[in-house]
């Protein structure tokens, strides 16, 4: 392979006015730009859906509060849940995958750049369509505005008789659009990983993030059609008078739950695995040790992917399945504890004896470890069917899944922001603001969600818009709301940090963390073509080999 010098003039952009830059974003097929667009848009939706959560918490701050009307409350928790899963979680995964995978496997772009852009625009317009329901929905029938059926939209609540107007149709159609976007993005990432690795990058030499992205995107392919299929059926029910979920014509409302959770439970792991991926890259670099048990990590991830496909009905212990069904889904749910436990021990094993640097990304990783452990333990509690009968649809469940999705997923993703921001922007995020963000967010998180466990144990059901005084929930709800405000402040600090550091951050250089994967071998931000010369690798830590020619990894792998 001949090495060719490529020099590209720095100021070759046609213009740098706002319109020119906007035009650049609209027509781009560059994986880095699209990745950042995914993440930026997701952060926008995170703010909107987060403010809805704050409004929900403010309504619950005291008994018999009248801050939100009941129907507005229903719309808010529906839009909050739907947005956080489909317009925040999924695009952040796509964004990280898009931005990092080609850089980490040493290639110049995704396998299908135009398909990549198509996926982004489907996601964006799907998200906008969901929010357009606030304007578009009342106009036609005068019933309802935004969707108010909950993010899992149980039948028969969604049938024409109970959900009049078009709000549920907005929910269906917008999620179908974002699903198309997620599917093509998943196909693209899989094809990129399989077909475009740089010479020497064998499967077992890929960075763990790439492995985990491969698994999570396969899960997207296997899980999302469950939702899309059920939504097609629901649309046929609503508009062509079919009877899939119409119990009066022999249809079944329970089968909606099955179809939804066949998608819904793998979805939880689809979101979690990229957070695992961030940890698997960050923990070794900040412990100054290679990851402990690389092949076991790969195996455990594949195992999570497989098992998560057979646990869905643990969301349905109270609908009246047979004892055999309950037992099967309880046991399969316990099984997920094994590979996730393996992962926690591997991260701990990586840190053990390492020279740990407590920088902001590492702090978020450590927070993740604590919180994910507790989330897993309450998950095992909820998998015990009789315990679940008692606590299903209570704030205990709300606290449990926010522990996974905020305490683990969001902490992992925040760690990723602090870790890769210097690569994407060329400047470091401010460390002092980052520390404030971490501590405020961690404290606020625990104030809110630790107390919600107890509210749930004391019998507080989820999705109630208010409650009477004197049930023992008053103080707990007050603390939870204060915690939500603290978390909101912390996210505001992150936003300030992100915007400020674009111009004012310390210059990052190519490799600010002294890391080992290929993305740190190119400039920050990387040039359009990523690598002037396509790299070749001989081990899992190519940059270690480069920096330590006297003691390279490939001698031992």
């Amino acid at each position: 392979m001949a090495t060719q010098e490529i020099t590209i003039p720095v100021d070759r952009a046609l213009g740098s006015s706002f319109v020119d830059r906007l035009h650049g974003l609209v027509v781009t097929v560059d994986h880095k730009k699209l990745g950042l667009m995914y993440i930026g848009t997701a952060l926008g939706f995170l703010v909107v859906a987060g403010l809805m959560a704050v409004a929900i918490r403010l309504q619950l701050i005291i008994p018999n509060n009248t801050f939100l009307e009941p129907d507005v409350f229903n719309r808010f928790f529906t839009m909050h849940g739907t947005s956080m899963v489909f317009l925040v979680g999924m695009p952040i995964i796509a964004g990280f995958g898009n931005y990092l995978v080609p850089l980490m496997i040493g290639t110049r772009d995704m396998a299908f750049p135009r398909l990549n852009a198509f996926g982004y625009w489907m996601f964006l317009f799907g998200g906008l369509l969901l929010y357009f329901s606030y304007l578009g929905s009342p106009g036609l029938a005068g019933h309802g505005s935004a969707p108010d059926v909950g993010w899992f939209a149980y039948a028969p609540l969604t049938s024409r008789a109970f959900s009049r107007g078009t709000s549920t149709d907005y929910w269906i159609l917008s999620l179908m659009l974002t699903s198309i976007g997620s599917t093509v993005s998943a196909i693209n990432i899989i094809a990129t990983i399989i077909a475009l690795r740089c010479p020497g990058m064998k499967l077992m030499r890929m960075p763990l993030l790439v492995w985990l992205m491969l698994v999570t995107n396969f899960m997207i392919l296997l899980a999302l059609p469950g939702l899309s299929g059920a939504q097609i059926m629901l649309l046929i029910d609503r508009y062509l008078g079919a009877h899939f979920f119409d119990t009066q014509a022999g249809g079944s409302a329970v089968i909606w739950q099955h179809f939804f959770w066949i998608f819904g439970h793998p979805e939880v792991y689809i979101l979690m695995i990229p957070a695992f991926a961030c940890l698997s890259e960050i923990v070794p670099v900040f412990s100054r040790k290679p990851i402990f048990g690389y092949p076991i990590m790969v195996g455990a991830t594949a195992m999570i992917g497989l098992i998560s496909m057979s646990v869905w009905a643990h969301h349905m212990f109270t609908v009246g399945m047979t004892s055999v069904g309950n037992t099967f889904f309880a046991i399969s749910t316990f099984l997920v504890g094994i590979p996730t436990g393996i992962k926690i021990f591997n991260w701990l094993g990586t840190m053990y004896g390492g020279k740990i640097r407590f920088d902001v990304p590492m702090l978020f990783c450590i927070g993740f470890l604590f919180q994910f452990l507790i989330a897993g333990l309450t998950g095992v509690m909820l998998a015990v069917a009789p315990f679940n009968w008692q606590l299903t649809d209570s704030y205990f469940v709300v606290a449990h899944f926010h522990y996974t999705l905020v305490g683990a997923f969001l902490f992992g993703i925040f760690a990723g922001f602090y870790y890769w921001y210097p690569k994407a922007v060329g400047r470091m995020l401010d460390r002092r603001l980052g520390l404030w963000h971490f501590w405020l967010f961690a404290i606020g998180f625990h104030l809110t969600f630790d107390t919600e466990h107890f509210a749930g144990l004391l019998g507080m059901p989820r999705r109630i818009f208010t409650y009477d005084a004197g049930r023992g929930w008053d103080t707990l709800n007050l603390i939870a709301t204060v915690g939500a405000l603290v978390q909101a402040t912390a996210v505001l600090l992150l936003a300030i940090n992100i915007v400020r550091s674009v111009k004012k951050g310390d210059p990052a250089g190519n490799d600010p963390w002294d890391a080992w994967t290929l993305e740190w071998s190119t400039t920050s931000p990387p040039p359009d073509y990523n690598f002037a010369t396509i790299p070749t690798v001989r081990s899992r830590r190519p940059l270690w080999d480069l920096k330590h020619p006297e003691d390279p990894d490939w001698k031992y792998e």
Partner: protein, 199 residues
């Protein structure tokens, strides 16, 4: 600022070949489509015999033997077309390709006739009962895929008639044919579920 990726990395000699991205992508697409179909197949199987009113499948369905033969043999003709393309025999490629399209059209025509008969003679629509609901959705989902496939096939034929399809595009043509094989294979499952198990 140096706007150039710099660090050269250790070079490992030897061949480095990877699967084609197109193949990886089309296999992924087929995987996700299969999952979509399995949801509809599961719904069909679940609702067999649960209709509260008639007509029942036994009363109105006739096994579509000839359309099935048409569709399955189109898998063979598309293979022959592909082989002709690889051997740079353009005329034969176009002939087999056209036959594939005609066989697909025959299949879709037969479905149209079947649906027309069910609707006008037996008064079975998608809202009549659960059988109608699941039958039209599952068979309709498959028919949609056949129509999408026919659009792709026709596009390739138009390109070929304008002289744009050369053996260089063999892999692209092959991807169309993989999709077509998938559509045919799904029909085997739909046929078994609807016309064999469901009756």
């Amino acid at each position: 600022m140096i706007n150039e990726a710099s660090l050269p990395l250790a070079f490992e000699p030897g061949d480095w070949t990877l699967p084609s991205p197109r193949k990886a992508a089309i296999v992924s697409l087929i995987l996700t489509e299969t999952t979509l179909f399995s949801i509809f197949v599961a719904a069909y199987l679940f609702y067999i015999g649960k209709s509260l009113t008639g007509p029942t499948p036994r009363e109105v369905l006739e096994t579509p033997i000839i359309p099935t033969i048409c569709l399955l043999s189109s898998s063979v003709t598309i293979m022959l077309a592909e082989r002709a393309l690889r051997r740079e025999n353009r005329g034969r490629f176009q002939l087999w390709w056209l036959i594939t399209i005609l066989l697909a059209a025959a299949f879709i025509g037969a479905t149209a006739i079947e649906w027309h008969r069910l609707i006008t003679v037996h008064h079975l629509t998608i809202s009549t009962n659960l059988f109608g609901t699941t039958f039209y959705s599952l068979v309709g989902l498959h028919a949609t895929h056949v129509i999408v496939g026919m659009c792709l096939l026709t596009l390739v034929l138009v390109f070929s008639l304008r002289g744009l399809v050369t053996p260089l595009q063999h892999e692209r043509i092959q991807m169309v044919s993989w999709y077509w094989h998938f559509v045919d294979a799904i029909w085997v499952i739909v046929f078994t579920v609807v016309y064999v198990i469901g009756r």
